[in-house]
């Protein structure tokens, strides 16, 4: 009986109970996001935006499943285009973020790798 239920639950892609755990994860992740992003240096808002671009291209995960599974051809075409779009974002997002971050230099001070460069100007 229990096994049958489990099998039935496994067959449906989204068991109804998971709705709440998904929302739970969403709310918690949003609060973590707000907390972490608030602390990001204002100097770095442009790189922040490009790195979050790259991170939100995590849609790549969904795209791979749609493009690579044994689905009808038309569906897979949609997935392949989505995969291309996400991959472009991942590659260009991370590369340009790193390129920009390389440019942020603290003034050359002997032996000081300023960790508090942010508040350095009095």
């Amino acid at each position: 009986m229990i096994l049958q239920e489990a099998a039935a639950a496994a067959a449906t892609p989204v068991p109804a109970t998971d709705l709440w755990s998904q929302l739970y994860v969403f709310v918690l992740a949003s609060f973590i996001g707000l907390g972490v992003i608030r602390r990001v240096s204002r100097l770095l808002h442009t790189p922040l935006m490009s790195i979050t671009n790259a991170i939100s291209a995590i849609a790549v995960v969904g795209s791979i499943i749609v493009a690579g599974s044994d689905y009808p051809r038309n569906i897979r075409i949609l997935g392949a285009i989505a995969l291309f779009a996400s991959m472009t974002n991942i590659v260009s997002g991370f590369l340009i973020t790193d390129r920009m971050l390389k440019m942020f230099k603290s003034p050359a001070r002997p032996g000081a790798t300023s960790k508090t460069g942010d508040g350095g100007h009095a």
Binding site: F26, S41, I51, A54, I58, S92, G120
Partner: protein, 468 residues
């Protein structure tokens, strides 16, 4: 296997959070990129290894294509970063929209069991957000790139907001109909209609938005791109998608709030306020007189200064003047003059735009000072040099109640002892508002392209010091 996949996703989530955490100071920020890349590689590898994934060529080819397009996109000049960012929001929205569509048609062919109400809601949200982000971001990118056939200024027409709202309400209503009857015979035909409405809405949403509001709009679109990924996570029951999308969504939200505060405006005002409309009535007022100054004169005043504050704006980006600015910075520093850069949060076309340009020119980030920190020092400032900035130094924001920018926090350039303003032409700025600062007693204009004017200043200063 399932357990391993979930474990890998948890690790990736942690790495994404660390990636953003390390962005809190330039010293650790690059570490953040490596963490992000590692998380992404894990996510891709684990998903690809799923037994359900069997058509490997269908994955390899798009990935290669992504590299082919992505690498050049990462090499654009830094002045083009706002366009690139908008374009990548478009790609993100497109990916979400397409995956959402695929999930719907798959579910439809598989039968009613797959299209639960919850999943349908998520699919509809995913395609609405995804496709409106797609066209909206393309429009934004087009405006930023100054593509010919997309008007730069705000385009408005009567009942615009009402029309947009009605359009969106229609899309939402059709969406609700689909949620209630996901397996109806008309469902597959209705679905593209919703997509079409969403695409149209994206275009119409951005048309009334002018260039000065772009930093906010880009941030909002950033948020939408993240939320569409969250919706995809709901559809696919994938918590990694939900967390990563939520991080992106909250990042866009915070940036948008910061931008709005820096303009003393609300979200709704930015999206539906159609800036650029109000001041048309005021144009054609009395002709005021600018005082212009020669390069030699300006150089002499600069040489005598103790504290010079340079206020960069979008004009510096347009003229690609950041490297010349660096030379000027060096010339002044050599004379023992203190030089600071005053950065307004909305200077430029995206959050943090000026910082990146100045960092590119090797100016140490400790000399890039935020508006709130520099303003108390402005009365001690001998020379405020305005390079292609306009609205962010307009004192009308403090005094002129009728001005559209009234209440916006500004950099107090007018409190400096002397102001030099470099300006391309005698036209008003992007927001189309006259700037009182330019007519002030202590302001002297240097007309010309920012790059050549600063180049001349540098030549004058270096020549002058050589003669001694």
């Amino acid at each position: 296997m399932h357990g391993l996949v979930q474990l890998a996703y948890i690790v990736a989530t942690g790495l994404f959070i660390l990636a953003l955490h390390w962005m809190n100071t330039p010293a650790t920020a690059r570490r953040g990129v490596y963490a992000g890349v590692a998380a992404m590689v894990i996510a891709v590898a684990v998903t690809w290894a799923e037994p359900a994934v069997v058509h490997h060529a269908w994955i390899v080819v798009p990935i290669i294509a992504g590299f082919v397009v992505g690498v050049p996109l990462a090499m654009v000049p830094l002045t083009a970063v706002p366009q690139r960012t908008a374009l990548s929001h478009a790609f993100g929205g497109l990916a979400a929209g397409l995956v959402g569509s695929a999930e719907f048609y798959l579910g439809y062919s598989e039968g009613p069991a797959t299209l639960t109400t919850f999943r349908m809601v998520a699919i509809i949200l995913e395609i609405l957000l995804g496709f409106l982000t797609f066209t909206g971001s393309l429009m934004a990118a087009g405006k930023l790139q100054e593509v010919k056939w997309i008007p730069q200024r705000a385009v408005t027409y009567p009942l615009q907001n009402l029309f947009n709202f009605a359009l969106f309400a229609l899309a939402a209503l059709l969406g609700i109909a689909l949620v209630l009857h996901p397996t109806a015979q008309w469902a597959p035909a209705l679905f593209p209609v919703i997509i079409g409405l969403s695409l149209l809405f994206g275009v119409l949403l951005i048309i009334p938005i002018g260039g000065a509001d772009m930093p906010t709009v880009i941030a909002i679109l950033n948020s939408y791109a993240g939320l569409s990924a969250v919706a995809m996570g709901f559809v696919l029951d994938n918590k990694l998608l939900i967390t990563a999308g939520a991080l992106d969504g909250s990042s866009g939200l915070i940036l948008a709030i910061i931008m709005c505060k820096a303009m003393n405006r609300s979200f709704t005002n930015v999206l539906f306020g159609a800036f650029g409309q109000v001041q048309q009535a005021k144009a054609g007022g009395e002709a005021k007189v600018y005082k212009s100054e020669t390069i030699e004169g300006a150089a002499q005043v600069l040489e005598q200064a103790n504290l010079v504050v340079i206020i960069p704006g979008y004009g510096m980006a347009v003229a690609q003047a950041q490297h010349k600015v660096r030379e000027l910075y060096d010339q002044l520093k050599k004379r023992g003059i203190m030089v600071k850069f005053a950065i307004h949060p909305v200077a430029g076309r995206m959050p943090g735009h000026m910082n990146v340009l100045l960092a590119e020119a090797d100016i140490p980030y400790t000399d890039l000072v935020e508006m709130d920190e520099i303003n108390p020092d402005m009365p001690q400032c001998d020379v405020a040099l305005v390079v292609g900035a306009n609205d962010v130094v307009n004192p009308a924001a403090r005094t002129e109640k009728t001005s559209p920018i009234y209440g916006m926090p500004i950099i107090d350039a007018d409190r400096a002892r002397t102001v030099f303003a470099i300006k391309r032409s005698k036209n008003p700025g992007f927001a189309g508002i006259d700037n009182e600062l330019y007519f002030s007693d202590k302001t002297w204009m240097l007309f010309g392209d920012a790059k050549s004017v600063i180049g001349e200043l540098v030549k004058q200063l270096s020549g002058g010091s050589g003669m001694h």
